[in-house]
Subunit: 299 residues, 2 copies
Amino acid sequence: MNETLRIKRLCLIGVGLIGGSLLRALRRAGVVDEIVGCGRSRDSLEIALKLGVIDRIEQDPVQAVSGADMVVVAVPLGAMQSIFTAIAPVLAADAVLTDVGSAKASVVRAAEQAFADLPGGFVPGHPIAGTEKNGVEASFAELFDGRRVILTPTAQSSSTAVSRTRAMWQACGAEVIEMDITHHDEVLAATSHLPHMLAYSLVDMLARRDDSQEIFDYAAGGFRDFTRIASSDPTMWHDIALANQGALATLLEQFSLDLQKLAEVVREGDSDYLKTLFTRAKQARDEFCETQERGKPAP
Amino acid sequence: MNETLRIKRLCLIGVGLIGGSLLRALRRAGVVDEIVGCGRSRDSLEIALKLGVIDRIEQDPVQAVSGADMVVVAVPLGAMQSIFTAIAPVLAADAVLTDVGSAKASVVRAAEQAFADLPGGFVPGHPIAGTEKNGVEASFAELFDGRRVILTPTAQSSSTAVSRTRAMWQACGAEVIEMDITHHDEVLAATSHLPHMLAYSLVDMLARRDDSQEIFDYAAGGFRDFTRIASSDPTMWHDIALANQGALATLLEQFSLDLQKLAEVVREGDSDYLKTLFTRAKQARDEFCETQERGKPAP
């Protein structure tokens, strides 16, 4: 699997935190010859150029992918289809095309709309990493060190393209796993999308109160940590929520029912229920942290 | 208000993270002559003695409070009443009695049960500080630096006792605020008790799934921060949930409805609703952090 990787020309479409960090990590690994940055914001691209993250700016996706043997699309999920549609006619037959979207079924649907047949070089991917910050200014080479990247190959993905995508992320220090598309979206709905919805909703519920200023004044460190992810980019999360509607809505309904039950239990003063719930949760969370600290188990 | 504080003998009942940190901070300030530690666990008290956090062990609360001019009760909320009942007959008339409970109405009710008349020296208090760790081993002198302590004096609290309690916390580096008892419990339900319930419930919902191991394997930093408070002591939070039943249950019901609505919105793909919600929440959360970084506004 770990063939020697050499990327002659990488085209990154969407030069933000994730894409920028990918480029920095690939530079660090010394596996890429030339990097072309493409995006809507000229200012961001100029910053990326100044930071040495990209070598060249091409604002037109068609020009940008020309001659690239690796194309990484790191735009918000809602912009995937227009990018795919733009580059479909000009993408080199042997180019690898991958993305970093947090939901995968919608990316595959977008590609199906754009390409007459899904290209063998297309390998959807998702690095499980990020911060609540945005923009290439916030990017750093270590973002993927020891983190996981999930690839969700389609039935058409060629083994060569999967290997090259895998090697690219391994060069960034990540552990690469393959997963079924639907399963990816269910797992991520639970571990990432739902928590973001809860953090946004909690902050919003409190912000809408008449005494919101006072409420926030008395919030402590626990609240700060709990709501950190509510500082994430609203557009990105808007797109994710709409890209993973079914799995996310199902979990939101389920959690809403759990909370309704918990409200009853608290009101009734059901001591056993509460003790059991909190003890079980603490145990699961402590085990989760221990597992993380021991290092990730083999995929 | 900032009279020169001198505590001749402080009796701490419940020598854990909060109580231990209070003692370390008072030692640092050099305002206490002798510290008597009282608690159910002999082992914990021996550790506290060895760490120099307390000067003397008294396992019987009646003996422990004897001759103390300051009594701090830092036991879980569910143990408050039995402690108050034990010490009520022997507490010195001019002693200050305070606590560190995270809900205040239940502490006042417990005191009302224990004392024929609420003593003038009784000043309920709540330091807004903590970590998810427990025990005197985890205590540190800086825990209250720049943090807030809320005092909720009763109608019977003497101004002298309030002043001394205030001075004690100020000596620990805290900012001290007074608040109405009911209002305290409502504010804390929103900023602290509800988030803890959400973190416990989320971890528990995921832990109950068949694929829970995999779910936790793919969780990232956001999930870790979001659920940090689910590693808190289950007994303590059981007590808090039961001590603040009304305010907490009301918020849980409200949040459950908010999530039900959000589930509908996600399923329908209501783009505007989602964008507005996330944008409003991010703005509120960013402002909250800025306010915290600027330092707390004057009370």
